[in-house]
Symmetry: C2
Subunit: 267 residues, 2 copies
Amino acid sequence: MATAKKSPKKKSTRPIILVTNDDGITAPGIRALVATMKKFGDVIVVAPDSPQSAMGHAITISKPLRLDKVSVFEGVDSWQCSGTPVDCVKLAVNQILHRKPDLCVSGINHGSNSSINVIYSGTMSAAMEGAIEGIPSIGFSLLNFSLEADFGPSMKIIEKVVKNVLKIGIQEGTLLNVNIPNLPTSKIKGIKICRQANAKWKEDFDERHDPHGRKYFWLTGKFVNFDTGKDTDEWALENGYASVVPVQFDFTAHHAIAHLNTVKWND
Amino acid sequence: MATAKKSPKKKSTRPIILVTNDDGITAPGIRALVATMKKFGDVIVVAPDSPQSAMGHAITISKPLRLDKVSVFEGVDSWQCSGTPVDCVKLAVNQILHRKPDLCVSGINHGSNSSINVIYSGTMSAAMEGAIEGIPSIGFSLLNFSLEADFGPSMKIIEKVVKNVLKIGIQEGTLLNVNIPNLPTSKIKGIKICRQANAKWKEDFDERHDPHGRKYFWLTGKFVNFDTGKDTDEWALENGYASVVPVQFDFTAHHAIAHLNTVKWND
């Protein structure tokens, strides 16, 4: 049962760091992230009770949410939530902390959230919700889907990123999307500030029939990168760098306003 | 059962218009949108079989998708899908049309998708997926949640918007977010090209106990607009205009790159 009325840490002067993810509270990736974050502050975890990959910025409005205190990480107050990653951030701020944490980190995602994946990603949507709440927020992802992935090299990159963020902050209205190549530390060339590559998924539905003869589809697809720029996250990752993309939640295509105003809309 | 192998219209030279939504295929809003779109081209509908509000850019990867041909709109080939609005667009392009439609419209949503709502909205995510696919795409929303809302004035605004879009197109990498005030036609002052207002939802969870004494939460909230700009969608809507915001799926905060490069990331 959630003891949602108490703020878990009251007297510490260390930063309060909210950790969440989309792979669920038992995923190895969040375990690695919690271990890293404990070096920087007092960690609390609010994460989904089941995998929520590809949930995008979904929130739960048509059914009630459960929030239960659980013992998953040593010395860290943790809650599991029946909702989406975005729900987790909202519940953490509003029902558990009753204040903004000093930092919100999401991940480490099992799999890439580079380029267009930022749009579908529950990991990144949780970080974006943190940013909307006015919290410095970062999403971390490792380019390896396996549950047996080695998160050691990622932890070193994350330490560097968090140190720098604590130094210079994150500009208002933005968050960071950090992707880490699936390489041993010795092979990672460094960290690169990038822009989101222009890429997409080309769908390829796997059509099957159930035992009753009724058709169903599995969504699969192939990632296609149209972007040859060397300033993109895809380029960085393909060339052995961890990519850091500043992301914003003002989705306005400001450059397109003039074009739209070339016609008279009220004739 | 989906007859997903046939393209529904073969010989027409009229534009093919894909209609979807997030309120589900039986919602009054999509009925009004289909009726309006029939004036402009050959319409096909692929929409969720149940309400999918606030699903954001979620896609269905951990369970199979159903796609069933249904008779809902007179003279219009229609399919209902068990997945999210984004799934609907992917299935329409890949499994039904086997080509890009000439236009993708989503809505009419029952309720606002202005400012920050664009991020949570299934309606807008469907339109965004259309734009990612390279299809000129528009999301339409009426500022009235009621199932009994009068969509008549919206239909007139939508006609104007679509006429102009067919004239000047939509810039690559962008889509349009159109919100319509809940007013009679005589009170709507016109259409305004806008930017997304800087606003957010302030959460307010409704805490309850189930019959077994276990706690649960309903997500509720209050919309807070921090933005006093007269060039925002919120200003337009409050002042009797329909708002048109060009939206992009490059989420990079390009202006933040220089700030991030003020530290050395690889020391």
